[in-house]
Amino acid sequence: MRVQCDAPILDHQQLSDCEFEITLHAPEVAKQAAPGQFAHLLLSNNYDPLLRRPFSVYRVNRDEGSFSMVYLARGVFTQGLRQKRVGQLVPIVAPLGNRFVYEPDDDRTHVLVAGGVGAPPLCFLAREMVGSGCGGRIVVINGARSRSHLIGAHELSQMPVELHVLTDDGSTGCKGIVTDVLADMLTELNPSMATVYACGPTAMLRAVTDLIVPVGIPGQVSVETPMPCALGVCMGCVIKLHHAAPPGFIYKRSCADGPIFAADQIIWDN
């Protein structure tokens, strides 16, 4: 069940030039949160900015009753968030949204495609898959603009997963983009025995679905839209999905029906 509370900051670390990990004490959230779910954070009570922002759960520590998120300080909200100190309270509503699902199966290949600040929920997923002994082959393709924008690569490199690291500028890993690696892998994947999980910028998600849907590989795609309420009431976060009845599509709420949708259901508009 969702909770609304003011969660104290237990830890706030700078990971790179503009990336931060913030850890909050919220036992109910730590207990329930699953990979792909998010928290809705409020920065301040003085309406600047007015609305909450969603951030994916990156790590949970059930013993400590805490969970963390990783964010890129880029705009008004995240620049404000980085000013917060340990001990201060952050109003949250969490956990929200649906989760990535996987079948434990020794013969299955799981391909996790993470772009930039889309990596946190997939790191959480990889950690859970490995920890639960789900079996099969786990491939993680982790890409970012540059070395300082890469999230989770160090931890992933210590896990029993096949890791591909890419940066646009080649500052670490291979120079290139995540879909280059995915495209190369496609021929070796058996569509009925593979699943792709993706989170990242919309252009990347679109490129991933363009690769996997035509060959019939199922995908779970975590979309990013503005989320004014994240409670399922404002209809300001919708995503267009295929629908049998006229007019041939339906708008679903990414906060309450998502943020994870089946790749073959999504209609990407220009």
């Binding site: 069940m1 969702r2 609304q4 409020l42 309406y47 600047d48 900015p49 007015l50 609305l51 909450r52 109003p91 509503v93 839209t225 503005p226 004014p228 309420c229 409670l231 399922g232 009431v233 404002c234 209809m235 300001g236 919708v238 995503i239 267009k240 007019p247 599509f249 339906i250 708008y251 309450a256 508009d269």
Partner: protein, 316 residues
Amino acid sequence: MSTSSVKLPDQPPTASLAVTLGRLKLKNPVMVASGTFGFGSEYADLVDLNRLGAIVVKAVTLKPRVGNPMPRMVETAAGCLNAIGLQNPGLDAFLTEKLPYLRQFDCPVIVNIAADRAEEFSALAERLSEAEGVAALEMNISCPNQATGGIEFGVDPKMTEMVVKSVRGKTDLPLIVKLSPNVTDITVIARAAVSGGADILSLVNTFVGTAINAKTRKFRLANRTGGLSGPAIKPLALYMVWRVANAVPVPIIGMGGIMTATDAIEFLLAGAGAVAIGTANFVNPTASLQAIDGIREYLQEYGFHSVTEIIGKVSS
């Protein structure tokens, strides 16, 4: 140990929050505004719906509406613009799926209705009047009227009176008419709505606005324009409530940028008999409950016995 014989220190009796808007009786003056609280179920694990003065549901149209393309909402300074396009499941789904759920709560359900033809408004009113568990209807007259090529019903006094009259003839339920603020003189439209048969007026709906991205040189909303809500509109809304309250004899439901109990109290002082919390529900899901508690504390603090004692009591 029994405490019944112990004399408690002097404490004022709990102030009454009950209000009466014509035939509509509410246990407190705080409702939640249409479009910001879904159909109630979305909030039920965070908010005790039994505590609310009333729930005004998302606009219901005769047929389902898919809504506008994205982006539909953008944040602006202390506010947000929305162009949702009335996405809703339609009247049939409302009656079979949403209303039965709401009936289980001890909270009046007000159904916000929207249409682009007067006949559709009448049909909605007729069918909702037969349904069990509807406390009142709220007409959203900020909708484009197809018969006039898309001019909003609510910007013209003649159209307002005509469309209200057509609904009045079809329902015995208390009829709330929700006014658009996008007019030169809102009191003219308010009087027209009352002449048409409105029992109660609610105001304001959102202010038409737009937002442009200088970098891309594009409108930020796919629909180009949207309705502004949130704290940014509060002074404008408060002014309109005060003017309308002094222009018509019917009760007023005030809204527009109410975030806190103090904001709500200001609307009551301006002449609103009740208030509705809108965008604040997004920022703080329990804003409505905090407003109820805050109003009660205010009444105790200043020694009022009933919230009705402060309605319209602003002075220079």
